[in-house]
Symmetry: C2
Subunit: 317 residues, 2 copies
């Protein structure tokens, strides 16, 4: 537990930018900064750049955070504080972030997967710790997640828990970037949505659609078309909702959470697929867990740095 | 935490018999008893019968357990200590077990799902608390489960967590008793195995099989035939292994456990399907969680009462 008045420091490393936030215990942002990640440069240089930005922030705030937390996309080893694998940041793989950033910032640093930190923001900030069992499903290019159970972040035996995007929702189905087939993200992640749109366009040449004739189709285009009533675009969201529904059915049977919160860019279009998800959940005959769980889109789509900052306040170091 | 020398008392209520165990903190069984469940009689009578048996046991042992734990098959509300739903014990649904048994035994009583208690036995006894994150998959008529994370039993928001048998492994696939299609237990539970055997026999009339011409086919018959090399019986186990493999892939992505332990009658035939399960797990490209997890059959197939007895020692009441 943190003493009142302590500050949290969160660093969220994306493929292009890295966000830094200094927050109060209640989640109020005191100061924020953005630095280039430059994943093509050595990780040690990144650490120096982040440390310099933190010092500027804290000087401007006139206060200092006791601990810090670094959020990174990829498979994180939270014990050793390293990035095991990250398709977006291959140059940073294996670098001792915990050690290096601790030294540069002269304080204790934890390293976690960014979706885990988003889950912590949902739990601690958006839901105000009123629900003990919360699953966050992050919907961006891929699909990730974070799990808070009994008010504690569940990171798993190797720190790899909550890889929700790779649950099989259609074994033998659509190819996934991971090499397997039928993963949730192959239907409801950004590239999954794009693939479904292209396939439907090709498979139904007779149906007119606002998506036709475009070079590149992004989820935002599919959302815009669906909102204007485009039947093909609506079908894409319906299929994504169905895949998501099966995935959420599975995680409700496993975890019996209070809330499943959808976070990230694609979740901003939740009104286009949440109906299908809820229809699927409603069919389940186990009423206690399915009658209890609430599935909703998070208010913010950008919770990595905030979650990391709040999580840094949980450290007892 | 329990003081040394304290005794645990576990009661495991099955459809026919109820087992009662008095155990030491290390899991050594001091005394055991078996009473008829008589699910056709009122639950209050069952409570009196259990209480009388416990008194006899404790008199014979010359010692008394401080708390007790009741394990029941079905959807248990652990907060109110009631059985919400149980296909095997419909007459017991809604009965205030926690209250009634606490009064009859003059001590604090917890009520939990029997598969959750089996998971606790795997964690506390078989694995000696050396692994923090353990999933037990109970394979009997249906498939259930229990989840221990960070050394704590995860029961979920309504006490319904770990209903592993209803994860969808083949959406739109074989019909499940729950009303849905493609659930894990429709492939790897007792009745799922029996259905697959019947379907294969009917679908491949030209293939000779030891299972042909039998009125009733039980998993033990399918196991016996498979061990003698019967190709059709081997195919049944292969399919069960494939379904189980997909289910375990999903739960490894979600929970990243140290161990997945198979418990119960069907798990005794694990040598017939674990090869297929492991083949499926091996294909996954996320090496940290899949390289770490161990999937194995439990040494005992009967962990409900033992787990409940050990779990009663966790209570701080």
């Amino acid at each position: 537990m943190s003493a009142p008045g302590r500050l949290g420091l969160g660093v969220d490393t994306g493929g292009t930018f890295t966000k830094i936030l200094l927050v109060s215990k209640s989640g109020t942002v005191l100061r924020g900064a953005k630095v280039d990640t430059r994943p093509d440069r050595p990780a040690a240089e990144f650490v120096r750049r982040v440390a310099a930005a933190v010092k500027r922030l804290e000087r401007a705030a006139g206060r200092r955070a006791q601990n810090a937390c670094l959020a990174v996309a990829g498979d994180v080893d939270p014990v050793r504080g390293r990035l095991r694998r990250s398709p977006n940041l291959p140059m940073f793989e294996g670098f001792p972030f915990k050690e290096s950033l601790s030294r540069a910032l002269s304080r204790s640093v934890e390293v976690h997967n960014d979706a885990n930190m988003a889950a912590w923001a949902c739990y601690a900030m958006e839901l105000k710790r009123r629900c003990a069992d919360v699953v966050a499903l992050t919907m961006g290019t891929g699909i990730g997640g974070g799990i808070v159970l009994g008010g504690r972040l569940h990171t798993g035996a190797t720190g790899s828990a909550a890889e929700l995007g790779h649950m099989r929702v259609e074994p033998g189905g659509a190819p996934c970037r991971c090499g397997a087939a039928g993963c949730l993200e192959a239907y409801a992640g950004k590239y999954g949505l794009e693939r479904m749109a292209r396939e439907l366009l090709a498979g139904r040449p007779g149906i007119s659609s606002r998506l036709r004739g475009r070079g590149r189709i992004e989820p935002i285009d599919i959302a815009r078309a669906a909102r204007l009533g485009d039947p093909l675009a609506r079908e894409v969201w319906k299929r994504a909702g169905r895949a998501l529904g099966i995935g959420i059915v599975n995680l409700v049977y496993l975890l019996n959470p209070d809330v499943v919160m959808l976070v990230g860019g694609v979740a901003r279009s939740s009104e286009l697929f949440l109906g299908e998800v809820r229809k699927i959940l409603k069919k389940e005959t186990f009423r206690a867990p399915f009658g209890h769980v609430r599935v909703a889109a998070a208010r913010s789509s950008d919770y990595g740095a905030l979650g990391a900052a709040l999580y840094s306040l949980e450290s007892r170091a």
